[in-house]
Symmetry: C2
Subunit: 593 residues, 2 copies
């Protein structure tokens, strides 16, 4: 790392560090680089940082913030255990440092020290690396495993710049009102709090986040600048929605949702600069980075005004699904996707999301009718494909069904057709899609929804087969809501009304309906959201419109199908608790409810 | 919880607690209940505890130890987030307490307090619950996520019984020489240290554990009694191998490996009782449980001598595979297993393990020849089945291959046969096995080994299909070693020599050999163990007998096949780092090596 003679890392308590500011500014121009990084792609991530730094300089920003773990991407998971990975991240930071001339930049990286690793924000200023702030609150719940990798930092930190005290924090730090920002505040009020985050999406989370940040700004009596990551990484989507919030709760600036963005704001600071006489009390020692002011701070061109609009409920979910699908495909090198079209609502929505993610010209719909498929299903699928403008293939599966029947005739002799035969149909379809994937390099986009995955109303290696399960965390009732949103937004029936109104069926035997096996979806989803997402016990699941025996049966099915979910493709986290790394239950489990 | 007037939880520093012993005993009789618990099965786990308590009383033990988290089973994962689960575990503890008359028992449970949860050892004595010791070191690496659930305890604890100071610890606590036992020691030497553990198996781990325990006994100058769990839980096997170790390193008693066991030992204590004048220094406060001595300690019948033998390297791995398979099947309610027999070494070993796990009468071998199958493969499979005494089914797949060819003829027009067609064969076989599973309720035991899973030399939904992947963490070279062990142990060719000596082939096209696609397995495994298990970077993988380009290619294949492994069945952890919860890499990952 480069260290610079003109700057030094000093402890707040030392007298010689007492700041001697000029005339403190009434605003600071802050930039948030809400970029879409890729885990492990140091070169591409660094290129985005360089380009954002250049833009921030052009826009005369004082400070520019990047997302948490900017350089490695987030979450890097066990890549953090590889020393070569850590080295590469340090090299990248060194290479970026000279590009910060004329700016103060906060860049997230993984910092090894004292035999441990820290989730750190590098403080770079005017081409020099001044040191780092190390995240003090490490989340280790839900999808987070940060204590697996990192040690907690032990020093809150602030910048002292042009007579202003500016607190630093990383993601989780700011969620705790008794966290590091409070420790900073105790040493003298802050003029501004900065936070760099990689905060993953679930429905409505941006609202919780905004409320929390407004609360923090009000508690501290200082504006808060919050930079969030944007983009998809395996099962997670980061929604952006970066923020600049004033102490009175006003949102001064907001980053776009689900898009890369450069956000600029002239942040008004308290008239009377804070912290001129820090009064250290008991608590952790505060690191202070003293940063020289520009010799003659020049008047800046005013920032252009910018509007922001907030998404509706289903719009937000839809955008998350599109971004998560696009990024999974692009970051993993898939140009085209293939989807089995059943004529049902799940495959219709998946196809539409695929089109919005990578373009209808890159989506292939495959119809795989069996003798049990209704004419309506085929017609509805073709009509959907026509409206979406996607190519279709039709591969009837009857011949393969017969082949399996013959092969298994002896082994199955004397048994009545049942689940085994139904699953074979689903698996033939899974095989055909995978064969197309293997031959053409297309990614199979799987169509199952969360309600099905929850109760195991899906076939392992059959309709569960594929590379990415777009709707894996979307309850069936939301699938309908999303389809309606798509049609409303387009002002026309992109998804044919017939698909939305017919009774759901897997069509694996004559006249089969989902309702033969499952309660109505609105009732089912109500039980599932409480059991799966809120960890309610059987005793807390009454009064939801279903008899106790039926609730018990649902719970039993959820538990018994853990083994299927364990082999499911990744899919996008949409709810507060998704299957996968978020909800970690044993397969072998004798606990009932 | 029951609290008893005659016993109280006292702080060591208070004067009134100064022990007033009678004549301290020169030995204590300790029992270790090395039981096989089931996650969430409070009723069955409690029954095992009751029966062990009864046995310990019959054998006149003073103290009996149970494994860590005795009541919940280990690891309960996110079941710990369900309040109904925690309640049930507390109720179970209350129900067990009266069964401890005449004994001191350490029973592991999850203890909620102060809005947090602790991984605790209940101290039960003579029918009363005296309180708990709360684990202070929580592992959060490898397969462990304890910081996700638990808060660290803040007080070391000891028993004061018949003038003796007996330290308490839970699993990880004892691995750290600066851990809680050291804190206890600082307050005055211990006479004995107890540890309750659920320490999962990997090859040779029992040796590391034994070395660690001997070191700890020597450092403390006190005997150590170490109780470990036994049994399989999803991907983990707990190997037992409980221990009683004296300060000079002598192993006084050892629990069997991979079996339930009651271990008794008359543990000689230091002649001069320790800790009579505890000298508290700086450090955490120590909890002391004062336990009344029996009124007239009677002379005990001597314990019968017992021998123990230590397993050879491959014997140990083999036993782990058998126990892991048996417990996965039995705890999940499968009576029979089905295995695709290819004539190769992996399916032969899997079948043999299945036989030893649940009996040859419960294993069905399925031959699924294609036109590319050699006559030898069929003959070898039938010969193997004959030697194992298992039933076979023969289901030729050619008709299904033709059906897929016809269905896909249009879509595949103009392309040359390749991986897509090869994978279809594997998937037809996967489908047939799953159809048998669905129809008959048999568990499909998958046959792939770790070398294949590492480089993706396996077909998703094809040979990877199944409920339990027995050899998932066994490198190919060990597969051979295990087969030879099986034959040596039996003193005959249980696995036909021809299976062991022929060249490995997937037989998915004419004259295909594994060596067309992969380096020789001994060289491959050497690279894999360093890259996958030791996180070595590309720069550290030279000098292993393979050219750099080939090493790079292997590493690239390991990285690129993360998506396949994410959808693989669970399998038994055998190496220091298995795929699954142990090695958590992102699928979307641009880091090279």
């Amino acid at each position: 790392m480069r260290h610079c003679p003109g700057f030094s890392l000093l402890k707040a308590k030392r007298k010689q560090n007492t700041p001697k500011p000029g005339k403190p500014p009434l605003t600071l121009r802050v930039a948030i680089a809400q970029i879409n990084t890729t885990v492990g792609d140091f070169k591409a991530n660094a290129a985005k940082v360089r380009s954002s730094l250049k833009d921030a300089r052009r826009m005369e920003a004082d400070i520019v913030l990047f997302p948490e773990l900017t350089l490695t991407g987030y979450p890097p998971e066990d890549l953090l255990l590889k020393s070569a990975f850590i080295e590469k991240n340090l090299d990248t930071l060194d290479q970026l440092t000279p590009h910060t001339q004329g700016l103060i930049a906060l860049i997230g990286f993984a910092e090894p020290a004292d035999g441990a690793l820290y989730n750190a924000a590098a403080v770079l200023a005017d081409g020099c690396n001044l040191g780092s702030y190390r995240k003090m609150r490490l989340p280790n719940y839900g999808v987070f495993d940060e204590k697996r990798y990192f040690r907690e930092g032990d020093s809150p930190a602030r910048l002292f710049y042009r007579g202003r005290h500016i607190g630093l924090s990383v993601c989780e730090d700011i969620w705790d009102s008794e966290g590091p920002s409070r420790s900073l505040h105790r040493e003298g009020p802050l003029d501004l709090l900065l936070n760099i985050s990689s905060s993953p999406y679930h429905k409505g989370k941006w609202k919780d986040r905004e409320l929390m940040i407004r609360t923090r700004a009000s508690e501290l009596g200082a504006p808060v600048v919050y930079a969030n990551l944007v983009g998809g990484q395996d099962e997670l989507v980061f929604d952006g929605h970066s923020l600049v919030v004033l102490p009175d709760g006003t949102v001064l600036a907001r980053g776009g949702g689900f898009v890369e963005d450069m956000i600029y704001a002239d942040v008004p600071l308290p008239k009377k600069p804070a912290g001129k006489k820090p009064a250290p009390k008991a608590g952790p020692r505060v690191k202070t980075f003293r940063i020289a002011a520009p010799k003659t701070p020049k008047a800046k061109k005013p920032l252009p005004a910018r509007a922001f609009s907030l998404p509706g409920e289903m719009e937000e979910v839809y955008q998350a699904l599109v971004l998560g699908t696009r990024d999974y495909m692009q970051k993993n090198g898939f140009e085209k996707g293939v989807i089995g079209l059943s004529g049902g609502v799940d495959s219709a929505l998946t196809a539409k999301i695929g089109c919005d993610a990578i373009g209808p010209e890159n989506i292939v719909g495959v119809l795989m009718p069996s003798p049990y498929s209704s004419l309506g299903s085929i017609e509805d699928s073709l009509e959907l494909a026509n409206r979406l403008g996607i190519r279709t293939l039709t591969l009837p599966i009857e011949e393969a069904m017969h082949a399996y029947d013959h092969i298994l005739a002896g082994a199955f002799e004397g048994t009545a057709p049942g689940v085994a035969e139904e699953n074979l149909q689903a698996r033939i379809r899974g095989n055909l899609l995978m064969a197309l994937s293997n031959k053409m390099g297309w990614l199979v986009l799987t169509t199952g929804n969360k309600s099905e995955y929850s109760v195991g109303y899906c076939t392992l290696y059959g309709d569960m087969a594929g590379g990415f399960a777009v709707l894996k965390d979307v309850p069936k009732t939301w699938v309908y809501d999303l389809c309606r949103f798509v049609n409303e937004r387009a002002g026309k029936e992109v998804i044919p009304e017939n698909v939305l109104t017919k009774e759901p069926s897997a069509e694996l035997r004559p006249d089969q309906k989902d309702s033969d096996s499952l309660p109505p979806y609105p009732l089912l989803d109500r039980v599932l959201s409480r059991y799966v997402e809120a960890d309610h016990g059987l005793g807390q699941l009454s009064g939801l419109g279903l008899p106790a025996a039926e609730v018990r049966h649902i719970v039993q099915r959820v538990d018994a199908n853990e083994y299927k979910r364990r082999q499911s493709p990744p899919g996008i986290k949409i709810t507060p608790k998704s299957f996968g790394r978020d909800r970690r239950l044993p397969i072998t489990n004798h606990f009932k409810g």
